[in-house]
Symmetry: C2
Subunit: 304 residues, 2 copies
DNA sequence: GATACAACTTGAATCAATTTCAAGATCGAT
DNA sequence: ATCGATCTTGAAATTGATTCAAGTTGTATC
């Protein structure tokens, strides 16, 4: 019989386009997914999709079952939300602070979804910069903060969102484009363009350059587009989330290269007070962000 | 996490009104259901229903989850049907023959449901009496026959529908009402009123009276109502399906008594040719009959 | 055309989780 | 007060899903 886990697999498959990717998304091995798919196929006695094509090409039956999967997960999450409301009332507020500019790309759509589901919860974006945004939680000036690092702080919970690749971004004619991947030393004589935030929150600096004692020239810009423009015109290099610059890479406006042999992987967490973690709409918002991101950002991975 | 099996359990619970009854309906022990319910309740951290009341009294959360269960099973069976149509076309016919008159009670609603789901399949009721209705299948004059006995016939499949109690029916003042249950010998000096069908298809005669060499006076009537009327007016006794006469028992128009210590249990099967069993709409019709019956007939049990 | 690599498949072994079993608790009815 | 029916509970047993490790297939590269 078809089970919920099969439906989750189908969705992961539909959204990630390969067995391997879907497997990591649902925290299983490819093998497990292969078994699952085979089970479904032998239950319906027909194939679900063509294997050798990316993205997957679904058969009509496969398509119908993917649709079913979406229907059912929607019904499930609606019910869970309603139960949550039944159990702990509906009102409340949701003040969101972000540390990272490009996050707005997916934060806005997430907030839209959330607004539909929790009309009574008042939403707000806490703007401006803060030396340590997590303090906003303790000061009760925000309810959720999106941060790139899990800390050990009492009374604060960090809900994992996802991990993503942060490649170096180079102008099309930059000499470093010849290399397959970059190392800290490659940055020595470059101008590094970053957002205007403290070094300890810039993963490239904190995790790669500082440990290697490399301190390139620096320059800042507030908007992702501005950084890209500077890079494209050869006035420096940068490191940006892969998901934030995919369209520019597709158009070959700039070139990306992995930082380090395995690439630089960064993480994103939603921080809240422990009290906040007990309110169901906050947890639902975290889940909504995950859902939206996995649906619309390519190449991100689950984080625990 | 909530699983499909939990939802099936919730539906069985909602429709049967007790853990024990629901358990037999989903082919599990009460214990298993108890564990399941406890698991759901501890997941949502709230009770689903009050235990000591029949029918179960649901909490708002329980109610919402039952609604979810119906939503999801509907989505599932819609999808399964559509997949079936995708795989083996849509046209066909469905000629139904019944051996037992009272079956129309649930056969009509089942046919209504089926008609909605398979518009292209032409429905027909094969009327009239036949010495052996299963022959209608081989002669290709019917596609499904509802029968009370599983036989060993090559090329014919018997799909179990349900089992049910067949109590004896007595007039309100009949002296046998003093007994807790009746035995074959109690029928010796009675007039037995039956449908006008061969003895080997009357479970009471075949399984109870004949083995005990008891041959009471006989009388026949075609309609259930006619039989009831005769019984009520003291002109004989009968044995009828519990589900068929529930309203008359509730109104105390007649009295029922179990036949034998454990009561007489009868069975109902849908017979089809093996070829027929391969068409998806026929199997769907069988499932529809089961669903409709378990939803609307009280006191019936699963049959394998 | 050989080789390597990536993605997927397969069967056996492991491990987790659900079911059953057996005993005990609770409630109503006689 | 006792019986019977219904449900609960914890531990054992069973089921079945996942992992592991090896094999297959297809694609790219030299």
């Amino acid at each position: 019989m078809l089970e919920l886990r099969h439906l989750e697999t189908l969705i992961a498959l539909a959204e990630s386009g390969s067995l391997a990717a879907a497997a990591s998304r649902v925290n299983l091995t490819q093998s497990a997914l292969s078994h699952q798919v085979k089970a479904i196929e032998s239950h319906y006695e027909c194939p679900l999709f063509e294997r050798k094509s990316t993205p997957l090409r679904w058969t009509p039956v496969g398509e119908r079952l993917v649709a079913l999967a979406y229907d059912i997960t929607r019904a499930l999450s609606d019910a869970n939300r309603e139960v949550a409301r039944l159990l702990d009332g509906r009102a409340g507020q949701m003040r969101i602070a972000v540390e990272c500019h490009s996050c707005f790309d997916w934060l806005m759509p997430s907030m839209d979804v959330f607004r539909k589901n929790w009309e009574e919860v008042e939403q707000d974006l806490v703007s401006g910069f803060h030396p340590d945004p997590v303090d906003l939680l303790n000061e009760n000036r925000a309810d959720v903060v999106i941060v790139s690092r899990k800390q050990r702080r009492r009374g604060i919970d960090f809900h994992p969102l996802f991990r993503y690749r942060m490649p170096a971004i180079l102008g099309k004619k930059h000499s470093l484009t010849k290399k397959k991947h970059l190392t800290a030393r490659d940055f020595t004589n470059e101008t590094l363009i970053t957002y205007p935030i403290p070094d300890e929150r810039l993963d490239l600096v904190r995790r790669v350059l500082s440990p290697a004692k490399v301190f390139p020239e620096r320059r800042t810009a507030t908007l992702t587009e501005a950084i890209l423009q500077l890079v494209a015109s050869g006035r420096g290099v940068a490191a940006l989330p892969a998901w934030a610059i995919q369209p520019y890479l597709d158009r070959e406006y700039v070139i990306s290269r992995p930082i380090g042999k395995d690439g630089l992987w960064c993480e994103l967490y939603a921080a809240s007070t422990s009290a906040g973690s007990a309110t169901s709409y906050l947890l639902d918002f975290v889940q909504t962000m995950r859902d939206v991101c996995f649906r619309q950002l390519k190449g991100i991975e689950v984080l625990r």
